[in-house]
């Protein structure tokens, strides 16, 4: 087509402008359309198609901006202009964002759809022109196809540039409210369903099918909530059509996640005794997925319709790929499902990790929580988070001076058990346990506490189902069983096939594993081994156990040692027979004693029967029992002189004589201060029974001959020092049997028997309160010298060596002393550790025998 003059062009342009103004500004009158055609055709022919398009769009934009957008944002003005506090008031209003939002959206969409029609008019005009042009094989700018996308772009950019800051907030509030509404609706109807079953784990495929089935079964619920979802869907669709696709998605996903989070918090709470993961999963399927399903279905329909008119779509828009039927959940839904589940796992995991300390405190009861956590961690793999947070809470709450060693140990054991179930490879346990072990090594009573934990499991395995977690013996027991199983495994390992299977099931260590430590030694987590590793060597533990066992056995009044034998057997499995040899001899002594006792008693009774006239013997030999020990194998026993009353002495020597007869040429050496005595004090009007140590018995028996004694004479009579007597006699005064008064000499106290009831009553209140204390004090006085004392005794052998060395060399460092002793001390050979030597040397320093200067020791001048 040849070009007209410029006047013609101007005419067409003027006509086009006028018509455009009419069309865009007009009140829905589309009739101008046909009249537009000639002008447009003319302009296009002149190659001004792009100008036409741009002008048209510009016009639309102006109108849209001035009318629709302004009124749209005005609807939200009251909220936007208010302060933060006032905004809360808005949010409280029940229908607040919903009403405003839906009406505003409706209006603006109406306007937009009108404008779209206008655009379509131009598009049609252009298309018809282009068709003609193509028929005449003329080149023409292809403007028609790009017009609609450009328009959509314009709309969203206009809206986004004028967007008030608080609009996303409004959307958020809206979705939150709607979801909560839906939640309550679903909760009401889905309760039975939720309780029906807890299903655990399973791949996403399984859950997808589950969700599908749920969707089917809950059709009724959907219809109830259908309206609600439809409303939401409408809003979402309107927002999308305005180009807020990504913002909308952000809003409703954050609302869903917020709701999920609050739901998890609500379900998980502070109760660790019920598993919550199943409930959470159930809920995800019941509420948010239902919602999304409905929403996506709804939008899926509308999107299809929309896509005809609008080519523009945000790449972020989660347009469902296909919805052939309700049957198969769409990919988008699946993705949502996985996303939500991951989020739920993570939330629950964070919640549980934060409270892990408490959970482990009541471990056996809280195992459901641990199980939940395990599943969460399997999914999220954030083990290191657990380690860090748990270590810091340990440092803050457990490893402080205020916590008793026992508590720390118990917590340690629970930690081991709990983490063992979370992570069988023990890598994280290693990381968590290290600070605890380090701390415990710094405590003096750790060994004692561990041994007590070991030996206190006297109840056996049936008694303590409730507190089985606290019972280390249980652990030993299980270990014993496990070891048997392991042995069994070893046998089958001979089989080549089995070995192949084993090697196939090999799994690498977790990424967090310390590469310095081989994976071989973390195969099996055994609690006792970990406990021993706190102490350092099993010898120390065995030694401590021996001392405690000795104490326990010596204070026994019968020969019932079944539980001790059991414990020993279990320890033997763990520590080997040879290291428990001495303990075994100790128990054997008790068994032998029992036999010897009955032997001797029967023979003694026979002699008494034959020798008549012995009746006046105050005590029958029946009352005497004796524990006969092989002293070489027992820990050093503190012996103290004690003169027992003649009658008892007679009894003892009779017994010893008989022993000598039966077991010639063995002899008995009495340790008179040891043992227990059950006695009854008989007064005129009452009698009292006591179980005491022999010293107490010896004291009180003296008061039969004489109702009052001075402490000095009594002490010489009994053969113990006065201060020791004064300490021991406190037992009887505290019981209200004796009273104390100051005699002529200030140091010499007089003790008198309290024989009338009234006196006792008068004292009884005071006494009762002090009784517990007295007993404790009594127990505190152990007959076995402690491990430390033993060590000191052993070390004194080397004192001369050390003094000699220091006189020759002047001064020496700790290392040098240690090495020299190691080199030259053959008899007795020096086998102490550096720490033990240091302890001993500092003892010598405090005794003022040595002096320490600049890290080396020298003789005190």
């Amino acid at each position: 087509m040849q070009l007209d003059d410029s006047d013609g062009a101007l005419d067409s342009w003027a006509g086009f402008c006028a018509l455009t103004g009419d069309l865009v500004g007009g009140a829905g009158d589309l009739s101008v359309g046909p009249r537009l055609a000639p002008a447009v055709a003319d302009l296009c022919a002149r190659g001004l198609a792009t100008l036409v398009r741009d002008y048209f769009l510009h016009n639309l934009e102006e109108t849209f901006k001035n009318n629709a957008v302004k009124t749209f944002w005005q609807k939200f003005h009251p909220y936007n202009n208010s302060s933060a506090v006032e905004r809360i008031k808005f949010c409280v209003q029940e229908s607040w964002p919903e009403d405003v939002l839906s009406t505003a959206l409706e209006d603006i969409c109406l306007e937009k759809s009108y404008q779209e029609k206008c655009v379509l008019v131009l598009v049609h005009t252009l298309q018809s022109y282009e068709e003609k042009a193509r028929n005449r094989k003329l080149q023409a700018a292809e403007c028609s196809s790009s017009l609609m996308p450009r328009y959509q772009l314009m709309v969203s950019s206009v809206l986004l540039t004028t967007l008030p800051l608080s609009f996303p907030e409004i959307l958020n509030v809206y979705f939150k409210k709607k979801l909560e509404e839906l939640n309550t609706l679903m909760d009401g109807s889905g309760d039975n369903d939720q309780l029906a079953s807890h299903e655990f784990s399973g791949g996403s495929n399984v859950s997808a099918w589950d969700s599908k089935m749920d969707i089917d079964s809950q059709e009724t619920v959907i219809s109830e909530s259908g309206n609600l979802v439809k409303n939401i869907g409408k809003v979402v669709r309107d927002l999308r059509c305005l180009g807020f696709t990504s913002m909308t998605e952000d809003s409703y996903s954050s609302a869903i996640i917020w709701l999920l989070k609050s739901k998890v918090h609500e379900l998980a709470g502070d109760d660790y005794r019920i598993p919550v993961l199943g409930c959470v999963k159930k809920w995800i399927q019941a509420v948010p997925l239902q919602f999304l399903h409905a929403l996506l279905t709804y939008l899926g329909d509308s999107v299809d319709y929309e896509s005809e008119s609008s080519g523009l779509k945000s790449p972020l828009a989660s347009r469902p790929s296909s919805f052939p039927g309700i049957g198969v959940p769409s990919e988008a839904l699946l993705r949502w499902h996985m996303r939500l589940e991951y989020f739920a796992y993570e939330t629950l995991q964070d919640l549980r990790i934060g409270k892990l300390f408490e959970i482990i405190v009541d471990y056996p009861e809280s195992s459901p929580a641990i199980e939940d956590l395990k599943q969460c961690l399997e999914y999220t793999g954030q083990h290191s988070k657990l380690v860090d947070s748990f270590i810091s809470s340990l440092r803050y709450r457990l490893l402080t001076a205020g916590a008793s060693t026992n508590d720390i140990l118990h917590q340690y054991v629970s930690t081991i058990k709990a983490l063992r179930s979370i992570d069988p490879t023990g890598v994280f346990l290693e990381a968590v346990g290290e600070p605890i072990r380090d701390y415990l090594r710094g405590r003096k009573d750790t060994i004692k506490c561990i041994v007590t934990m070991l030996t206190d499991g006297s109840g056996g395995n049936t008694s303590g189902a409730g507190n089985a977690g606290d019972n280390l013996l249980e652990e030993l027991n299980r270990d014993a069983e496990n070891q048997e199983n392991a042995d069994y495994d070893d046998h089958t390992n001979m089989d080549e096939k089995q070995a192949w299977l084993n090697s196939e099931s090999w799994e690498p260590d977790p990424v967090e594993a310390d590469p310095l430590k081989g994976s071989r030694n973390r195969r099996k987590i055994d609690i006792l081994g970990l406990m021993v590793s706190i102490i350092g060597s099993k010898d120390q533990l065995v030694n401590e156990y021996r001392v405690m066992l000795a104490e326990k056995l010596l204070s026994k009044s019968d020969f019932d040692i079944d539980s001790d034998i059991r414990t020993l057997e279990l320890l033997k499995i763990h520590f080997g027979e040879s290291s428990m040899q001495k303990c075994e001899i100790m128990l054997n002594d008790l068994i032998d004693s029992k036999r010897t006792n009955s032997n001797i008693k029967t023979s003694l009774l026979r002699t008494i029967e034959t020798v008549t006239g012995q009746e006046e013997a105050e005590m029958s030999h029946d009352v005497l029992d004796a524990t006969i020990i092989s002293s070489n194998f027992w820990p050093p026993i503190q012996t103290e002189d004690l003169t027992v009353p003649a009658s008892v002495d007679q009894m003892l020597s009779d017994f010893a004589k008989r022993f000598h007869q039966i077991k010639t040429p063995r002899k008995l050496l009495w340790k008179k201060n040891l043992g227990t005595v059950k006695l009854e004090l008989q007064f005129e009007d009452r009698s009292m029974q006591f179980t005491v140590v022999p010293v107490h018995a010896a004291i009180i028996m003296r008061f039969q001959e004489n109702p009052s004694w001075t402490s000095k004479t009594l002490a010489t009579e009994i053969g113990i020092p006065v201060d020791s007597l004064n300490r021991r006699i406190g037992f009887w005064t505290s019981k209200g049997v004796l009273t104390e008064s100051v005699g002529a000499d200030v140091d010499d106290h007089i003790f008198t028997v309290v024989d009338s009831m009234s006196d006792v009553n008068k004292n009884s209140i005071v006494n009762e309160s002090s009784e517990a204390f007295q007993m404790n004090e009594d127990e505190g006085e152990s007959s076995i010298s402690s491990v430390e004392e033993q060590l000191k005794k052993e070390m004194t052998v080397y004192e001369k060596f050390i003094i000699g060395m220091l006189t020759n060399f002047g001064n020496m460092t700790l290392d040098k002393i240690h090495n020299t002793l190691k080199m030259f001390c053959a008899e007795p050979s020096y086998d102490k550790s550096l720490q033990q030597l240091q302890g001993f040397l500092s003892g010598l320093v405090s005794d003022e025998k040595l002096e320490m200067r600049d890290g080396s020791y020298l003789l005190k001048k």
């Binding site: 029992d625 092989s630 002293s631």
Partner: protein
């Protein structure tokens, strides 16, 4: 002696009618059970066995339990050994066994 007798008599006389006044009767201690502790020892002159150098009150290297399970034995020369130790010694000798301590002929003490 003569001065002593009347006093004792007087004491007896005064006590017989009123036994209750006796301080002895005020409190009585009845022993229900006396569980004592003792250690046994072989009544040997020496501390350790001359063969294995282990304590007599312990046991020979082959034994686990001391006492009845690992007894001592005396020879005619009054030297004592762990039974197991001296038996081993005696059995290992080709000619007449001698006491390892004094080299006299070894005879178990009857």
């Amino acid at each position: 002696m003569r001065a002593f007798l009347p006093r004792t008599l007087a004491l007896l006389c005064s006590q017989r009618p009123g036994r209750l006044e006796l301080p002895l009767a005020r409190m009585k201690v009845k022993i229900l059970q006396w569980h004592a502790v003792a250690s046994w020892t072989w009544d040997a002159q020496d501390e350790t066995c001359g063969i294995c150098r282990m304590a007599f009150d312990g046991c020979c290297p082959d034994c686990k339990f001391p006492g009845d399970d690992c007894p001592l034995i005396w020879g005619a020369c009054n030297h004592a050994f762990h039974l197991h130790c001296i038996l081993k010694w005696v059995n290992s000798q080709t000619s007449t066994p001698l006491c390892p301590m004094c080299r006299r002929e070894w005879q178990f003490k009857g």
